[in-house]
């Protein structure tokens, strides 16, 4: 079976498993297949390898202790576990703080809790650059709040929030601080031991490990309640026979991420900047969304005005370029992404926002091809648009019957 070929610029959605990760995992499918809990020799090797994986993940996070790492099925499970645990250990605190641009694995959990379990939810807004409203955040902090869950980096725009400072402020009120760092881990150097962050979620498939594995960092000394019960695994913090092969893969991926960290912030960043600069110059009537002064090195989200994102993606896909869009039409919902709406991006642009997310596997030749392909695609779609005429927007000339 040969896979699809082309230029993959959708690494915030998922990444390719690094061949070195695959190699590390292979013996654990059918040779060392034992249960790490077993006494006999089939499980012996596995236990040691799991310990190594835990240490590698702890090193990537800059955690003080390996035991602070709890392996899970991924970002979504880690987020759910963290928030629900924080609420259970502080039953007298009935408020939750989160941001308007979280991944649904946080935002929907919080909304559900507010709607069905009576929690008061503070959703902190962002400004037009996607920066968190710090005053609103400060105002929401109080001893009534059980947990803050605010992402480290946004999956759509790459915008980074100052979570270390936010965690400091939360601590003053005795609030547990959780961060969804699924997009940040592996791209941003982390030293959790030196922060006041209590819990952190990461996901394997965003850093060249397999899908369906991740981890929750739980700072030593904080109170914790498991989501899954019925087994002693992960020090009774996550019951169920471990996904050993995937965990071992995650360990290798963490080690590689640490090795390549510099590359993310030099080579990958330079390619991202090259792509962004070229498109802004050649296309016109487009702009970068998010906080360009503080964001992930691999992500650019460009809003092309007066056209719709799905059409752009279809054309890109035809020439072998994979990207993604915050547009409504691709997601099956009817409105542009909640992240772009929270940032007040005008509808004229929000529908045409395209996210290019690179990885350490992206090459300069690939970026050059994208730079060459995009302007024509945008031009073609604009030539079909009623809001566009001879190379210029003419939104005011088009006034449909109902709007």
């Amino acid at each position: 079976m040969s896979g699809p070929t082309g230029i993959y610029l959708d690494n915030n959605a998922t990444t390719r498993v690094d061949p070195r990760v695959v190699e590390e995992m292979l013996p654990f499918f059918s040779e060392h297949f034992g249960n790490p809990s077993s006494i006999h020799s089939f499980g012996a090797e596995v236990g040691g390898k799991m310990r190594e994986a835990r240490a590698r993940v702890a090193a990537l996070l800059g955690a003080a202790h390996d035991t602070e790492i709890v392996f899970t099925s991924g970002g979504t499970e880690s987020n759910n576990t963290a928030i629900l645990s924080a609420l259970k250990v502080a039953p007298d605190r009935r408020e939750i703080i989160t941001s308007a641009v979280e991944h649904p694995a946080v935002l929907e959990v919080c909304r559900h809790l507010a709607k069905h379990e009576g929690y008061v939810l503070h959703i902190i807004p962002v400004d037009k650059q996607g920066r968190l409203d710090i005053d609103a955040y400060k105002a929401a902090l109080s001893p009534r709040v059980a947990v803050v869950s605010i992402m480290w980096a946004n999956n759509e725009t790459g915008t980074i929030f100052p979570v270390e400072a936010l965690a400091d402020m939360a601590k003053e009120h005795g609030i547990l601080f959780h961060t969804d760092a699924v997009q940040a881990v592996g791209k941003v150097p982390l030293r959790l031991a030196e922060t006041n962050i209590d819990m952190l979620s990461l996901s394997g498939h965003k850093l060249h490990a397999p899908k369906g594995v991740g981890a929750l960092y739980v700072r030593r000394g904080i109170r914790f309640r498991p989501l899954l019960r019925g087994g002693h695994q992960e020090r009774e913090r996550r019951a169920g026979t471990e996904n050993t092969t995937a965990i071992i893969g995650l360990g290798k991926a963490a080690e590689l991420a640490l090795v390549h960290m510099d590359q993310e912030n030099t080579t990958v960043k330079a390619l991202r900047d090259k792509l962004e600069k070229a498109l802004l110059e050649t296309v016109g009537h487009c702009f970068v969304t998010g906080n360009v002064h503080d964001r992930l090195p691999n992500t650019t989200n460009i809003a092309f005005e007066y056209i719709e994102g799905e059409g752009i993606l279809l054309f890109l896909s035809r020439v072998g370029i994979a990207a993604s869009s915050g547009s409504a039409c691709t997601s099956g919902s009817l409105e542009p992404s909640h992240v772009l709406r929270a940032m007040d991006i005008p509808f004229t642009a929000a529908h045409g926002a395209i996210r290019f997310s690179l990885s350490r596997e992206t090459t300069e030749a690939e970026i050059d091809q994208v730079i060459a392909a995009v302007p024509e695609i945008i031009g073609r779609l604009r030539s079909l648009s009623p809001y566009w005429d001879n190379g210029a927007p003419r939104a005011e000339a088009f006034k449909p019957e109902y709007a």
Binding site: E308, G309, L334, L384, E401, Y402
Partner: protein
């Protein structure tokens, strides 16, 4: 991504009849940029024979919107005005070998543009009539009664979810859920009376039971989003409030929101509350721009979260439409 037919892909990648039609004597424009799709259909009609000799389109929208528009021009060219009047949105979808259910609204938009273009050619005052004969049902997506009626009848729709997939109505704030429900029940009842629909298929007001009915006409699986239920639950969970209590809670919620808007150089003022419609005035930086719709949405969500029931926040300038 979407499971588009080869024909949809072909009409998207190589659209026929795209661009401005010089000498058009019938133009229909529907949709809006905030909805995510908009279409201008231009037709040239021979005044003697009433035959549509040429047609072109300009479309802002997704792949299937562009393909549907192009298909529409192919379908109408060579037809007389009377023949064109009988074209349905299903004809557009069929021409393309089917559309994913969530994309049927693209064919509906094509159909609406055709009606508007014909009206423009014949000089009928259609668009205005539309709004007068039928109230605007879904304000988020500009769906009025006339459009709803045509979509429900033309496609034998029998669930709220189908109505949303075909017209987008109810796809956003969901406050129009009850109106859609009533309207759908009425239209289905009329269709049963006219022998167009079996009584057991018809949507009955308050009857989510009908939601299990298979999708008529559309190919593929219908993905039903549980929006109808969500809205109902919110309503059921809402404690009974007197009107005065409700207004006070809304007023208080708006007071809490003001500092955020003031920080952006704007402000908000509560003008009136009428049932589940909250009329507000946006001032300063918030008013008048495209983004005011976004601000309104934010205010609305905040109010819904506070009050625990669906509400519609409407700029008071738009009151005449409500």
């Amino acid at each position: 991504m979407w499971n588009y037919t080869d024909k949809v892909k072909d009409y998207f990648f190589n659209p026929k009849n795209a661009g401005v039609l010089d000498g058009a004597n019938g133009v229909g424009e529907v949709g809006s940029i905030s909805c995510g799709d908009a279409l201008r259909l231009m037709i040239k009609v021979d005044p003697d024979t009433q035959v549509i000799t040429d047609a072109r389109f300009q479309t802002f929208g997704c792949g299937s919107a562009i393909a549907s528009s192009s298909a529409l021009t192919e379908i109408v060219i060579g037809k007389t005005i009377d023949e064109a009047r009988t074209i349905t949105n299903q004809d557009i979808a069929d021409f393309l070998g089917g559309l994913p259910p969530e994309k049927m609204h693209c064919s509906v938009m094509g159909h609406e543009a055709l009606i508007a273009a014909i009206a423009n050619f014949t000089g009928e005052e259609l668009a205005d009539d539309d709004h007068e004969e039928g109230a605007l049902i879904c304000k988020c997506f500009g769906v009025d009664e006339g459009m709803l009626d045509r979509a429900v009848r033309g496609n034998r729709l029998t669930t709220i979810e189908q109505v949303t997939a075909y017209t987008k109505a109810g796809g956003s704030c969901k406050t129009c859920f009850e109106k859609i429900e009533e309207k759908l029940a009425d239209i289905n009842a009329a269709m049963v009376a006219e022998g167009l629909l079996k009584a057991e298929e018809a949507y009955v007001y308050g009857g989510a039971a009908a939601a299990a009915a298979p999708a008529p006409a559309a190919s593929g699986l219908i993905q039903i989003s549980p929006l109808a239920e969500g809205a109902k639950k919110a309503q059921a969970a809402a404690p009974a409030m007197t009107n005065l209590q409700k207004i006070m809670v809304i007023q208080q919620a708006i007071e809490e929101l003001r500092p955020h808007l003031q920080a952006d150089g704007g402000d908000i003022e509560l003008v009136d509350v009428d049932g589940d419609s909250v009329f507000v005035k946006l001032v300063g930086a918030c008013a008048g721009c495209q983004m005011s719709a976004v601000t309104m949405q934010g205010v609305q969500q905040a109010l819904i979260d506070k009050i625990g029931r669906p509400l519609r926040v409407i700029p008071h300038e738009a009151r005449r439409f409500a």
